[in-house]
Subunit: 208 residues, 2 copies
């Protein structure tokens, strides 16, 4: 019997997962949590085999990646299977770096979900096809390696600042800002600031 803890701040989603999972003979939900603290408490007390983790915990709160890291830091850490709505870049990486075993999309059919849970319990890595594809795309070519500084520029950009203002904000010259922007354009495959903002938001490089 595989013991599972659900971490998601949506009661509806928790109920859905519980209903689906409890229909499986070899799976059992042993606890639920809606945030970081509750997750730590229930995981330490129940010692589940697998934690199903929603990445987009609430708005602005400690993200699923942070909770994942916290859980993996426990003495006998559970395997973590991330379950989320989006399949866009940076979240995936952060979650996997935080120690998640796998990554499934919420709109995955139940069968895929069950298989993923069992595989995770066995210590295998599970990735949604589209997620895997994204990862491959990401590591294969020039790899969209937006540097930290470039992210800063993108954030200011999304606030509508001009080059001069960004320069002031970042304590660099306008030329430098332009340089960063040029790099951003090539990396994101766009050639305007507006396009860069949209691309950055879409790939979750920045959030709104």
């Amino acid at each position: 019997m595989i013991g599972i803890v659900l971490v998601d701040d949506h009661p509806v989603v928790r109920a859905g997962l519980r209903a689906l999972i409890d229909g499986q003979a070899d799976l059992s939900v042993v606890g639920e949590a809606d945030g970081l603290d509750a997750a730590l408490a229930v995981v330490t007390s129940e010692g589940p085999d697998v934690v199903l983790m929603d990445l987009s915990l609430g708005t602005g709160k400690a993200g699923g990646a942070a909770v994942t890291a916290a859980l993996r830091a426990l003495p006998a850490p559970p395997e973590v299977l991330v379950l989320t709505t989006y399949d866009t870049e940076s979240d995936i990486l952060r979650a996997l770096e935080a120690g998640a075993r796998g990554y499934l999309l919420k709109d995955a059919p139940p069968d895929e979900l069950f298989a993923g849970i069992r595989a995770t319990a066995r210590g295998e890595t599970v990735l949604s096809p589209s997620v895997a594809a994204t990862l491959v795309r990401r590591t294969t070519p020039g790899a969209t390696t937006i540097t930290e500084r470039e992210v800063e520029v993108l954030e200011l950009l999304s606030r509508g600042l001009g080059n001069k203002e960004m320069a002031r904000e970042l304590f660099v010259s306008e030329a430098t800002v332009k340089s960063h922007l040029s790099h951003i354009y090539t990396k994101l495959g766009v050639d305007t600031r507006a396009g860069a903002v949209a691309a950055a938001i879409e790939r979750r490089i920045i959030r709104t």
Copy 2:
């Protein structure tokens, strides 16, 4: 007994709603659908009292607002209660205009959900507190009434097009595009294209 049909493309969410609702003596889920066609089919065959509608149906597909409109156009239309993750502007309006009775957030506690369903079945209007607040905010001041045409411009803008390209795309002159942009800037409270894209995405006027 109130008959309910669930329209949501996430199996997990459907299962969750079904599990929660079936725990209520006076509520019963009589059907599920994951898209426009299925929704029309199951609603005509089951004649539910209330339809629980997810607004963000899939990516790019016919949105929940469209499905709502289609359902309300049926001979004996069911009451529609929109259930969604976000409480940001434009979606709400579109759904209500499409004939939805009310609007609840997915992270609402189950009790609120049940109460909402019963109220909707009685023909009452239900709005999540935050949604109601948003509506008030929206109608009170200058009201961010982005016109349809302006949304088109914003979409092209987010794809990084220049004024000239947008003009070609929209079959108007460059001057017209600039005019639309100026209006957009004042309405969104920004003064650059990049800022406009970010603001538009944040308020869910456009999606990525």
